[in-house]
Symmetry: C2
Subunit: 249 residues, 2 copies
Amino acid sequence: MATGRTHRPATRSRGIPEATVARLPLYLRALTALSERSVPTVSSEELATAAGVNSAKLRKDFSYLGSYGTRGVGYDVEYLVYQISRELGLTQDWPVVIVGIGNLGAALANYGGFASRGFRVAALIDADAAQTGKMVAGLPIRHTDELESIISDNLVSIGVIATPAGAAQEVCDRLVAAGVTSILNFAPTVLSVPDGVDVRKVDLSIELQILAFHEQRKAGEELGEAVATARKAVRRPGSDGDVPAVMPV
Amino acid sequence: MATGRTHRPATRSRGIPEATVARLPLYLRALTALSERSVPTVSSEELATAAGVNSAKLRKDFSYLGSYGTRGVGYDVEYLVYQISRELGLTQDWPVVIVGIGNLGAALANYGGFASRGFRVAALIDADAAQTGKMVAGLPIRHTDELESIISDNLVSIGVIATPAGAAQEVCDRLVAAGVTSILNFAPTVLSVPDGVDVRKVDLSIELQILAFHEQRKAGEELGEAVATARKAVRRPGSDGDVPAVMPV
DNA sequence: GAATGTGAAGGCTTTCACAGCT
DNA sequence: AGCTGTGAAAGCCTTCACATTC
């Protein structure tokens, strides 16, 4: 989930469990799709399938929000969209800044899912002066020097860090000092922040490593090691420093 | 976590809990950093801090791998790096394909974290014939027509989907039919896959929505709604279809 | 009849706290 | 003396299954 510490303990924030909060965006997306097809109502079973969860879990999740369904009928799509949006705080406008406009930062700036869900990219910030003024996704890249004034001028409380790992903590410190209280971190490093600041982390290589773990298990169990062996043979000689052949014991 | 279904139930795969598997990459990264600084041993307390977890959790996690520490001393860094790498399957080479070379796909192709941890980008694939042959991150973009042959020629079992949502399921189906059994999905859509195929999902806008939820709580609790109100006032008029003002009840 | 809302049961995960090595 | 490894306790989360409502 989010950071190491920093989340207030299981956020009793009006009683909605973290696990439920994490699924609300899923439901919202499925509901938005139904809404666009003008579907008026949906059952927990149908919606659960569309969102990729099971229906008991979905009903339990919704029960934390209130009794928004009708027995024998299901849920009113528009109404639920509104309630979940409100619960997530998407009925207000959230200006965000993206710091670090490399490949990933540019991809994020261009990502439609932000603008379409209550988020507005207030500014793109990069430390490289040579990039300043360059347009990305319709916005000019601004220099890190302006970071503090951008934050306060736009009432920004959410920052996205897409810098190299080495720069992330300093950027984080400056964001927090300037008033940012929620950070989405794409840099592969652990950020330390004061109490009251939320950090969520997205790490591309971690996800792949988890897949590799399960993939390895499959190969071992189901293919009798044959494929694993074939792959091992292919391994390049000087791959990287991560698997030193030496070891004690 | 991963998909809706599809994970074998709590993967008893030699007894390592999912939650632990998800943290192993974190430990590995922290350990790799220590290794680069030639630190020989580390205590659970120090390593836990570096990885952003608490030490009891870390020790419990390691206990599932075996007894790799020394009481009164700590853990041997190099040895642990090797053991965790092996457990995660990173001592073998994992060829991956990235499908959909837009902004995000290009960012992924350039992402150093892949190559440095046992993963090798075997090919970049895009449906746009105009892009075919263009070089990205040192590799030529290849056309979707070649997908099946690329998969089988390279023994690829892990695929990364970075296409628009509309194309994701079809790409997924083709990957699976060609032999891919693990998928990392960046497209904002639920993929359905047969049993035995793992899907993990990374969704940028979902992470932001979760942050917004907590941010909203903070604003309400700590600032007496003042900032929230200020932000609300700023909301652009015709934002999007996600919060229709209408609703029953 | 159909589908929600929810106690209760069952599983996982985290945390505690201390026995057991070095 | 210091630090790991781990039962036991506590807390979450998921799933079951059914009373309740429309």
